[in-house]
C-alpha cells in the first residue's frame, strides 16, 4: 500500500510545487520536472503491481487508523494497481511527447497534467462514495482547465463541458446523499453487504448512473465529448480521451458490480449492453461522416466506449468475471491506441496545415511516420491480432460465441468492428492517394511523429503480456 500512496502523492506534490514555482520556471524545466515525477510515480506503481501480483489479494487501508465506516477506506487490488501503472505510463508517454515535440504546450499544461495524474490515482484507490465524488470533481475541473489551454476557440466547448460536468457531479452527489441517508454508510465494501433492492436504492443508483454516464460520455449522453476533445491541444486530447473518461467508468463499475444488489445489477445490465451496442454503431457512423480528423478520433472514443459499456452490461447481466477482464483490457488498449491517434492526428494537422480529412491526401508520402502511427493505432481499435484491442475483443467474444443464444451480442461486436474498420480505412485510403498530394506547410517534426508512434507500439506489445494481464485481472474479480 505504501508504494501506491507514493505513486499517488508524488504527482500531487509535483503539481503543487509547479504551481508554486509559477512563472519563475520556464515550460521546458517544468516539463522535465513533471516527467520525472510521473516516472517516479510509474516506478512506485510498478512495485505496487508486483506486490499485488505476488499477494493476489485486496489490501484495505482505513485512513487515519480509524475504524471502518468512520474512516475513508482506500483499496488496492490488482485492478487498481494496474490502473495506477497505466495512468502513470500514459502520463510519461504523453509528457515526453509534449516536452520534445515541436508543437509543445504552454507552461500551465504541466501542473495541470500532474493534478490530473494525482486525481486519477486518488480515484483508482478510493473505495468510498463521497471520496470518489471529490476525485470526480478534481478530474472534471482539471479536464476543463486543460481544454481551455487551447485558447479562445476552446472557451465555448470548455464552458459547456464545465456546466455538464457540474450537473453530472451534482447528480452523482444526490445519489450519494440518498444512499447515505438510507444505509448510513459511504464505504463501498460495507455498502456491498447492506444494499437492498428497494425503491430508494433504485432511485439513488439510477441518478448516480445518469451522472456518471454523462461524465464518461457514454451513449446517449456523449454530445459534449467531440467538441471538447477535438478543440483541446493535442497532448490534452490524448489525455482526455485516453484517461479522463475512464474515471467515471470505473465508478460506474464499482457502483453496479459491488454496491448494487445483484438482482438490480442484472436488470440494468441489458440496458447498458444495448446502449453500448448502439454507441458502437452510432459513434462509428458519426466518425465515418466527420469531415475533420480530430472530430473523427473524438467520435471514435464514443464508439469505443461502447465496447466497455457492453462488457460492463454483460458482466452485470451474467455476473461473469471474464467480462471484467475484457472491460479493463478494453480500457487500457483503447487508452494507448487513442493517445497515438490524437497525437498523430495533431501532428498531421500541424504539418499539413489542414483540419480536414480530405487534406490528408498523400500523407503516406509526406508524413509517413505519423500516418503509420495512425494506421497502427487504428488497427488496435479495429481489433486486428495481435494488438491489445484484439486481446480485449477476444476475451469479450469467447463467452459470446460459445453459447448460441448469445450470438446476437457477438453480432453487435462484429458490427462495431466493421464500422471501426470503415472509419479507420477511410483515412488510410485517402492517405494513399498519391496522385493529388497535399504538400506539407512545414518540414515534418520527426521527433514528434516518432513519439506519437510510441503508445501504438505499446498497445501492440500488450499482446506479449496478454496472458499475464488476463490472469492478473481475473485474480481481482469481485
Amino acid at each position: 500500500m505504501t508504494y501506491a500512496l507514493v505513486s499517488l502523492s508524488v504527482p500531487l506534490f509535483c503539481a503543487l510545487l509547479l504551481t508554486l514555482a509559477g512563472p519563475k520556471l520556464d515550460s521546458r524545466h517544468a516539463g522535465q520536472i513533471a516527467i520525472v515525477c510521473s516516472a517516479l510515480s510509474l516506478v512506485a506503481a510498478w512495485f505496487a503491481l508486483m506486490q499485488m501480483a505476488e499477494l493476489n489479494q485486496t489490501i484495505l487501508l482505513e485512513l487515519g487508523g480509524w475504524e471502518s465506516g468512520l474512516a475513508i477506506r482506500l483499496r488496492l487490488n490488482p485492478l487498481s494497481s494496474l490502473l495506477l501503472l497505466f495512468t502513470a505510463f500514459m502520463h510519461v508517454l504523453i509528457g515526453v511527447y509534449a516536452a520534445f515535440s515541436r508543437q509543445g504546450v504552454s507552461r500551465d499544461f504541466w501542473p495541470l497534467s500532474s493534478f490530473l495524474h494525482g486525481s486519477l490515482a486518488a480515484l483508482w484507490l478510493s473505495a468510498d462514495l463521497f471520496n470518489l465524488y471529490i476525485t470526480l470533481e478534481l478530474l472534471g475541473l482539471t479536464a476543463v482547465a486543460m481544454v481551455a489551454l487551447a485558447g479562445k476557440k476552446a472557451y465555448k466547448p470548455a464552458a459547456n463541458y464545465l456546466i455538464l460536468s457540474l450537473v453530472a457531479s451534482l447528480f452523482y452527489l444526490l445519489g450519494v446523499a440518498l444512499i447515505y441517508g438510507r444505509y448510513g454508510s459511504l464505504d463501498v465494501v460495507l455498502l456491498s453487504l447492506q444494499t437492498q433492492s428497494d425503491l430508494l436504492t433504485r432511485i439513488a443508483l439510477l441518478i448516480m448512473t445518469a451522472g456518471l454516464m454523462l461524465k464518461a460520455a457514454l451513449w446517449p449522453l456523449h454530445l459534449w465529448l467531440p467538441a471538447a476533445h477535438a478543440n483541446a491541444p493535442t497532448a490534452v486530447s490524448a489525455l482526455l480521451s485516453g484517461l479522463v473518461v475512464k474515471g467515471p467508468l470505473f465508478i460506474l463499475f464499482l457502483l453496479w458490480s459491488e454496491v448494487a444488489p445483484v438482482d438490480l445489477a442484472q436488470q440494468i445490465g441489458p440496458v447498458l449492453a444495448i446502449a453500448g451496442m448502439i454507441a458502437l454503431v452510432a459513434g462509428g457512423l458519426s466518425a465515418m461522416r466527420s469531415p475533420y480528423i480530430k472530430t473523427l478520433v473524438a467520435y471514435s472514443t464514443v464508439a469505443q466506449l461502447g465496447y466497455a459499456m457492453m462488457a460492463l452490461g454483460l458482466l452485470l447481466t451474467w455476473q461473469l468475471p471474464q467480462m471484467h477482464v475484457a472491460l479493463w483490457l478494453f480500457v487500457i488498449a483503447h487508452g494507448l491506441a487513442k493517445a497515438t491517434l490524437f497525437l498523430a492526428a495533431g501532428e498531421m494537422q500541424a504539418t499539413l496545415g489542414t483540419k480536414r480529412i480530405s487534406g490528408l491526401r498523400g500523407a503516406t508520402q509526406t508524413v509517413p511516420v505519423a500516418m503509420f502511427a495512425f494506421a497502427v493505432a487504428g488497427g488496435s481499435l479495429i481489433g486486428l491480432p495481435p494488438s491489445g484491442g484484439f486481446l480485449a475483443k477476444w476475451v469479450l467474444l469467447q463467452p459470446l460465441l460459445s453459447e448460441p443464444q448469445n450470438w446476437p451480442w457477438a453480432f453487435g461486436v462484429l458490427l462495431g468492428t466493421l464500422v471501426s474498420a470503415a472509419y479507420i480505412f477511410r483515412v488510410v485510403a485517402i492517405s494513399f492517394d498519391r496522385a493529388r498530394i497535399n504538400p506539407p506547410d512545414i518540414r515534418p517534426d520527426r521527433v514528434g511523429h516518432w513519439l506519437a508512434l510510441l503508445p501504438a507500439l505499446m498497445v501492440w506489445g500488450m499482446a506479449l503480456t496478454g496472458d499475464w494481464l488476463i490472469q492478473l485481472l481475473a485474480g481481482s474479480s469481485v
Binding site: 500512496l5 502523492s9 500531487l12 506534490f13 503543487l16 504551481t19 508554486l20 514555482a21 509559477g22 512563472p23 487501508l61 485512513l63 487515519g64 487508523g65 480509524w66 475504524e67 465506516g69 468512520l70 474512516a71 475513508i72 504552454s106 507552461r107 500551465d108 495541470l112 493534478f115 486525481s119 486518488a122 471520496n131 471529490i134 476525485t135 478534481l138 475541473l141 482539471t142 482547465a145 489551454l149 459547456n160 456546466i163 455538464l164 450537473v167 447528480f171 438510507r182 444505509y183 448510513g184 454508510s185 437492498q196 428497494d198 425503491l199 430508494l200 433504485r202 432511485i203 439510477l206 445518469a210 454523462l214 446517449p220 449522453l221 454530445l223 459534449w224 467538441a227 436488470q267 440496458v271
Partner: protein, 325 residues
Amino acid sequence: MTFELMPDIILSTLLLLMAWGALYAPTRHDAMALFVAFGLVVALIWARLGAPDLALAEAAIGAGLTGVLLLQAARLLPAESASTEHRPLWFRSSLLFLLVTTAMFASMILNNNSLQLAGSGISANVTADSASLPEMVAAAMGDSGVGHPVTAVLLNFRAWDTLLELLVLLLALTGVRQLYPGVNRNQQAVANTIEQTWPLLLAWARFLAPLLVLTGGYLLWRGADGAGGAFQAGAMLAAAAVILRLTGLLPGLSWSSLLLRLAVNIGALVFLSVALATLMFGDGWLVYPVQWAGALIVAIEVFATLSIAVTLSLLVVGEPEELSA
C-alpha cells in the same frame, strides 16, 4: 399542525419562491438579488436543522461571495438582450439528459413489482449489528484532538476528503487563470485606476474590514470546539479582502509574486506534507499521533484558512492582470 412546524413551512416556501424568482426574474439584477436571498434562506434552513457550520459557510460563500461574483460578471456582460433565439448545445444536451434519466427511472420503477415505499424500513436491518456513524464519531472524539465533531470529521476522520477539497479550490483558480493568458503588462497601470467610490462606502469598508478579520480569526480559533473552522474563516477573510478591493483600498496583487503563489498553495502543501510525514515517520498516511493531533489540526487549519481566503478573493475580484502569469 404544531407551532414548531410553522418556521419550517415558511422557510421551505420562501426557498422555493426565491428559487423560482431567481430563475424567472425579468432582469438580471433582480435575478441576482433573489439568488443572494436564496442563499441566505438556505443558510437559515441549515441553522434551523442544527448545522451552524454549514449555515456559516453557505451565508459567506453561497450568498455573499457568489453574489459579488455575479455582480462583477454582470458588470462585464453586454446589456441584456430581449430573448435568446438560439438554444445553446448544453441546453439540448441537458434536455436529452433529463429525458434519458426519466426514461430510466420509469423503466426501473415499473420493473419493481413490489413497489415498496421509500421511507419504510429505513435503518430497520441496517444498523442492527454495527453502531451508526454519529455514535462512532462520538466514541472516537476523545482521540481526535479537537472538541467539535464537525471539525473532527473534516480534519481527522475524513481528512483525505478535505485535502482533496483544498486541491479542488486551487484547481478552480488555476482553471480561471487559463482564461487570461499573457495580458499586456502595459495595461496594468490603466486597469488599476479605480472608479470613484462613495465616501460613505469607503468609511463603511474601513470600519467593516477589521471586524471581518476579527470574526474570521475568531471562527478559526473557535473551530476546534464549536461551529467554525478553516472554510468559514477563510470566507470571512476573503469577504474583507473583497470589500477593500472593491473600494480601492487594497492594491492589486500579481501572480508573478512568489508570496501570492505561496499563499495560494500553502494550505494544500502543508496538508500534503503532514500526510507524507505521517506515512514516512508515523503510523501511516494521515494517522496523527494522538498527543499531536490537536496541534497538527490547528496548524493545518491556519494555513488552509490563508489559502482559502486568498484563493476565494482572487476568484471573486481577481482582475486579469493579477491572474495572468
